[in-house]
Symmetry: C2
């Protein structure tokens, strides 16, 4: 729906990657991508595993982890590591080039989009003779007043 890239394009991209790398195109791998496309938000490997089994897919954690890894390698997925949490994934095409602001008080995560960050990445990479693939920017911030931050953990600096 709010999808920039439709599922067919993604499936084709994934199939092409698998073929090129001589990985096998199994129904499990296809199903994982289908379910991810239905989610349209951040998710952890375990959330996906639970969701899939709840929807009737019979799939193991091992396969979920391994497929997420493949999808990340071919840049269909973006993998995030927020502080203290397990790895979270999302479709790169869902909201291209967005980043995250994290409240250090309550842990709330706000997505935002800001031009120019990718340009910085490309400039830096080129300076090292490399090519930028993508980036992850996390801005840590606080509410001006603890009261404003309703989920305050009582740990503010």
């Amino acid at each position: 729906m709010a999808q920039q890239t439709d599922i067919e394009t993604l499936k084709h991209q994934f199939a092409e990657f698998l073929r090129r790398k001589q990985y096998r195109n199994t129904p499990e791998r296809g199903k994982v991508l289908d379910r991810i496309a239905e989610m349209d938000r951040h998710f952890s490997a375990d959330e996906l595993y639970v969701t899939m089994n709840a929807k009737g897919d019979r799939i193991s954690r091992a396969t979920v982890y391994s497929t997420l890894d493949l999808l990340t390698k071919c840049t269909i997925l973006m993998k995030h590591r927020f502080q203290g949490e397990s790895a979270h994934y999302e479709l790169s095409s869902r909201m291209p080039d967005h980043d995250h602001l994290i409240c250090v008080e309550c842990g709330r995560i706000v997505e935002f989009r800001e031009r120019g960050i990718d340009d910085i990445g490309e400039r830096v990479a080129q300076g090292l003779g490399m090519t930028a693939v993508n980036h992850s920017l996390q801005i840590f911030a606080v509410c001006p007043d603890p009261v404003t931050c309703e989920h305050n953990k009582g740990d503010e600096a």
Copy 2:
């Protein structure tokens, strides 16, 4: 040596934080900060634990973890979560506002400094009625030619 902020200033800042928060100023907490100041590089909690015990400090992992947490809360330390690795820490004052470029082929991490990233953070935070504390930007990049990347894991997309 290449220190922007000397150890006495940091110790004072930490003591002040502890007092204000009504945490106790213990010799273990002071020692952790001392040893970190001596390292002047990224380190993991376990590396610090091993280093300290090797140098004759008797300290437990639990105390190391808990002190790192306090030092991160008062922004003396910056905590990084690189892909697939355990948390790494470094003094915020060691190299202010620097970021990291990570080779997705070999995992090599290059530190760089680029003006303007903090400004972006402040602008975004202010737009949300918040105050930026710091940020973490990771740029993922590849070598143009696999051969260039000597530590290539053989997994390139």
